[in-house]
């Protein structure tokens, strides 16, 4: 009888449920789950693991997304229907706002420089743009303008970290990391930015605008700058010109790196 019982106890061993092993690997960040999410650019793939959101990508189909994710991250991307609470609660808000907010982001594998570029870029408000050179100055590497462009081109989480808000100082939009270059324009238009007005201003060599009532100068798309009425607006080609006219830099958009 005992032998029988021992045999039957051995028979109580079962397989682990499907997906359990993957769930462990995703939780520790050695694999990723992904879902699709609507954005102004259409459906995008969003990958995440226990450390945070690891990728936002447009790709024709699941296979090509999974293949590209593996090449970029060296980990498997596994489709799922379930988004863990700590990501679900903030994901759609982050996409809509174009800012991580409280959404955890997994930036492992990036250099300190790339991380600094992305974190600074993440603070640019919706509907506003800044030149590449501004990001470079803000992170204390004023000479690294081109490297800033490269870092943004490799932004693993576009839309959420709004690299679309960094443009060329001549007012043209420059490169974009997510699919079609026109996507940059689409996102900025969706945020309510008057791109033609901004480009027209920049092409005339105007980098800053100021108000003669406050004596403050701003980036042309700064939320405070946009409140300036035409009657009180003064245009400046650079910092020197603005200072000479007795204006100080805006503390919000920081047209001059501290």
């Amino acid at each position: 009888m005992t032998d029988h019982i021992i045999t039957e106890l051995g028979g109580l061993r079962v397989d682990a449920p499907a997906g359990l092993e993957d769930a462990v690997l995703v939780a520790v960040g050695l694999a990723d789950h992904y879902v699709t999410r609507p954005t102004p650019l259409g459906e995008v793939y969003v990958a995440f693991n226990g450390r945070g959101v690891s990728a936002v990508d447009v790709a024709g189909d699941r296979d090509s997304f999974e293949a590209r994710f593996f090449i970029d991250h060296g980990r498997r991307a596994i489709p799922t229907d379930e988004i863990p609470e700590r990501i679900a609660r903030h994901l759609d808000t982050a996409i809509a706002a174009g800012r991580p907010g409280r959404l955890p982001i997994d930036l492992r594998g990036l250099t300190e420089f790339q991380t600094a570029v992305l974190l600074r870029t993440a603070t640019i408000p919706r509907g506003e743009v800044r030149p590449y050179g501004w990001v470079a100055k803000e992170i204390g590497k004023p000479g690294a303008v081109r490297a800033v462009g490269t870092a943004l081109a490799h932004n693993p989480v576009p839309v959420i970290i709004p690299c679309h808000r960094v443009v060329r100082s001549d007012g043209t939009l420059g490169e974009y990391s997510l699919g079609d270059p026109e996507n940059k324009r689409t996102l900025l238009e969706a945020e309510g930015l008057d791109i033609d007005a901004f480009t027209a201003l920049s092409s005339r060599g105007i980098r800053f605008i100021g108000s003669d009532t406050t004596r403050v100068f701003c980036h042309p798309t700064c939320g405070r700058g946009s409140l300036i009425t035409d009657r009180h607006r003064h245009d400046f080609a650079d910092e020197t010109e603005a200072r000479a006219a007795g204006y100080r830099p805006c503390k919000v958009c920081r047209p001059v790196a501290a």
Binding site: M1, T2, L9, G10
Partner: protein, 186 residues
């Protein structure tokens, strides 16, 4: 898991945690899940515990010096974590009134349809009877006879002397035998 495999696995784990950990998960998850399932009598709880134990193991390994990882006895070490999680879960469950402990809950698909035919009544009853054993006997019987761990590994996992584990297994089996031999369920 043979000693040989375990040795090389911990050596590789020490050298390359991220590259080797998926193998650890593959190696241990079925045993962890089966053991937790039979200790807790609930599939969902067992799944949660298995996942949590492996995640905690990964985080702990990340903090351990290489030499300590090399010397680890992997399965008993992970089972120390898992058994504690099982015990905590039972305690918190006993504080919240819930469905009674049962070895075959409604979503337990069992071994698969073709094996189901030879699935004895005894097996199902044993799953229920395990839940009635005192914790010390239940853990020892499950780890030895369901998971298939030798006494010394169980002793390490449960932090009890091997002689105690052996006696827990024997006393647990004796109780199961008496209960299973009884025609009517109490």
């Amino acid at each position: 898991m043979s000693t040989m495999t375990a040795d090389t696995l911990t050596a590789r784990l020490a050298d390359d945690l991220d590259g080797t950990f998926p193998e650890v998960v593959r190696e241990l998850s079925a045993g962890l899940f089966s053991g937790a399932f039979r200790m807790l009598g609930n599939r969902q709880d067992a799944e949660d515990v298995t996942q949590e134990a492996l995640v905690r193991a990964y985080r702990a390994l990340g903090d351990y010096p290489v030499d300590r990882i090399r010397e680890l006895r992997l399965r008993p070490w992970v089972w120390t974590i898992a058994a504690n999680l099982c015990r905590n879960r039972l305690r918190s469950r006993s504080r919240r009134p819930q469905a009674p402990l049962t070895g075959h809950d409604p979503i337990d698909a069992g071994p698969g349809p073709d094996e189901a035919a030879e699935h004895s009544d005894l097996r199902g009853r044993l799953a229920d009877l395990l839940a009635g054993l005192p914790w010390s006997m239940r853990t020892a019987v499950v780890l030895h006879h369901v998971v298939g761990m030798p006494y010394d590994e169980i002793a390490a996992a449960l932090e009890r002397p091997a002689a105690t584990v052996r006696s827990d297994v024997h006393r647990g089996l004796a109780r199961l035998r008496v209960a299973a031999d009884t025609e009517e369920q109490p």
